[in-house]
């Protein structure tokens, strides 16, 4: 029997009078002195229970797991995990997009650190091939230049083919010629002096380091990244608010349980844990759905990009916007984000419960 609670003599007799089983151990309860009764009662009850298989029966009835103090059915679970799933999907889409744009911006910045272009505009009385050769000599003589590549007429016409067709002949139009200059990113040349040298010796030559164009694109990309993070923050905030509303609804729906827990001496942390456990389980279900859906979507996108990369449209898209494929580490971060949303849900639920319980902190409000 319970360490501090003996079955008082007399009471046992009075109570066991109503016991339908009429067990033989009852006689011991009614005759033993209170001090010794406890041991006798406990021993005999154990023996009796074992004798009739009650212990096993109760064990089976109880099962291995403990029933939840807060019933799962009371939490509007399907609605909540569906919302969390949608929020997780949106968060993953946002984060994936941010990672792709960020990756593309990095590629642009990397490109500008590796290449510049010398453009020579055709002028009267200037031999273009000679001007190209002189520009190459000047470029290769400068420090920090790894190499040059002159776009011949065929390559130049291919570049212009989408706009001017495939019948462009030399002399038809004053088409500028290009020299791609590969530079050493670790030892960048002095672009200003190179520009001056070209202007002095090659009429019509201009050095284009793409900086203005790429700076604009990078600024746009960075803006997109920050906007993405802002959207991600809003999605997470909306998730938290949803969980707070759901938790408050669950608390209101389980007010009697909270009251009972209070009057049996439960601490706030114990009560919060009961709700937190449920919400974490619900959130795991939701983030699994939303996260996996997002991962599948990005994977399908990568397959589509791979399939279209050999087409002219794919080449043009890739030239402007990069591969638009979620980088490898992106899948890891999507998984981390999904799990974080589950953890965030549990923490938010715990916070909401504590907040609610603090509101009923006033003696008289919690169990009245």
């Amino acid at each position: 029997m319970h360490a501090g609670l003996s079955c008082p003599e007399g009471v046992c007799r009075s109570m066991t009078e109503t016991t339908p089983t009429g067990r033989t151990s009852n006689s011991a309860r009614t005759t033993a002195p209170s001090s010794t009764f406890r041991k006798q009662f406990s021993r005999q009850l154990t023996e009796t229970a074992a004798g009739i298989g009650l212990g096993d029966l109760v064990d089976k009835a109880m099962g291995g797991g403990r029933p939840a103090i807060v019933p799962r059915e009371s939490l509007a679970g399907t609605t909540l995990w569906s919302v969390i799933g949608i929020m997780t999907f949106l968060a993953c889409l946002t984060l994936g997009s941010v990672l792709m744009v960020s990756d593309t911006a990095r590629t642009w910045q990397s490109d500008i650190s590796r290449e510049v272009t010398i453009q020579i505009v055709p002028l009267e009385n200037v031999d273009m091939e000679e001007a190209l050769g002189r520009a190459v000599e000047i470029a290769e003589a400068a420090s920090g230049i790894v190499g040059t590549r002159t776009l011949n007429w065929d390559a130049t016409t291919r570049l212009l083919e989408p706009w001017l067709g495939d019948n462009l002949q030399p002399g038809d139009l004053p088409v500028p010629r290009l020299i791609t200059v590969e530079i050493d990113p670790d030892s960048r040349p002095d672009f200003a002096s190179l520009q001056q040298e070209l202007e002095r010796n090659v009429p019509g030559a201009m050095l284009d380091d793409h900086r203005t164009w790429v700076d604009r694109l990078t600024a746009m990309a960075n803006t997109t990244v920050w906007a993405g993070f802002a959207i991600l923050g809003l999605v997470l905030a909306a998730t938290c608010l949803t969980v707070i509303f759901a938790t408050r609804g669950a608390l209101a729906g389980n007010r009697q349980i909270v009251e009972v827990l209070h009057f049996v001496g439960a601490e706030d942390s114990f009560i919060a844990q009961q709700f937190q456990r449920h919400f974490f389980a619900l959130a795991l279900r939701g983030v699994a759905l939303g996260g996996i859906a997002a991962l599948i979507l990005f994977y399908m996108l990568s397959i589509w990009v791979s399939a279209s990369i050999a087409t002219p449209q794919g080449d043009q898209t890739a030239a402007f916007f990069g591969q638009f494929v979620l980088p490898g580490h992106g899948y890891f971060w999507l998984a981390v984000t999904s799990f974080s949303i589950a953890v965030l849900t549990a923490i938010t639920a715990r916070y909401a419960v504590h907040s609610y319980l603090n509101q009923v902190h006033e003696v008289g409000a919690d169990t009245a």
Binding site: M1, P8, T16, T21, M62, G265, V363, A368
Partner: protein, 219 residues
Amino acid sequence: MISFENVGLRYGEGEEVLRDLSFDIGPDTFQFLTGPSGAGKTSLLRILFLAMRPTRGVAKVFDHDVSQIAKPDLPMLRRRIGIVFSDFRLLDHLTTYENVALPLRVRGRDERTYKQDVLDLLDWVSLGHRTDSYPPILSGGEKQRAAIARALIEKPDLLLADEPTGNVDPPLARRLLRLFIELQRSGTSVVIATHDLALMDQYDARRLVLSGGRMQIYD
């Protein structure tokens, strides 16, 4: 153990429902709290159970001023008090066993350390055959006994029972009374709130009679 000095209680701006209550409840004592409906019995029990602060006077429970008790201290003090509500307040989704074991579960005890105690206690209150039954299918008397078992499982220093015999037939009421008397003899102070005169006549105990918010004490 319990000490009230000029305690008054009012709800909002209404009239006082308890007025100038001054009394003590010592250890190992038994008392009936009685009075007509609306006399303030339940309000007084709420103060005793730390569910309400008095609006004036000094109410001390286990030497703690009820008006000054900090929130972190409430659970530990409540664990020394067993309470039986007139409406039982059993959790319908838990079995009788789980309801009775609830106070031990919230204390973080390992079930293996108390399972047998709970089963013994259920057997003691003649609910051994109802361990895995849910409250909705229990009779009023069985619910009452389950609520009592839950209040007793941790051998409280103070037992508060609000109309504990209100849902049982007279023979069972007598048996429950004997249970409370024996509990008091084993070291628990017992306060039984009732207006069942027949029940009170069965045991010569101190009577705290509330009427119009004031208390008369008959030792």
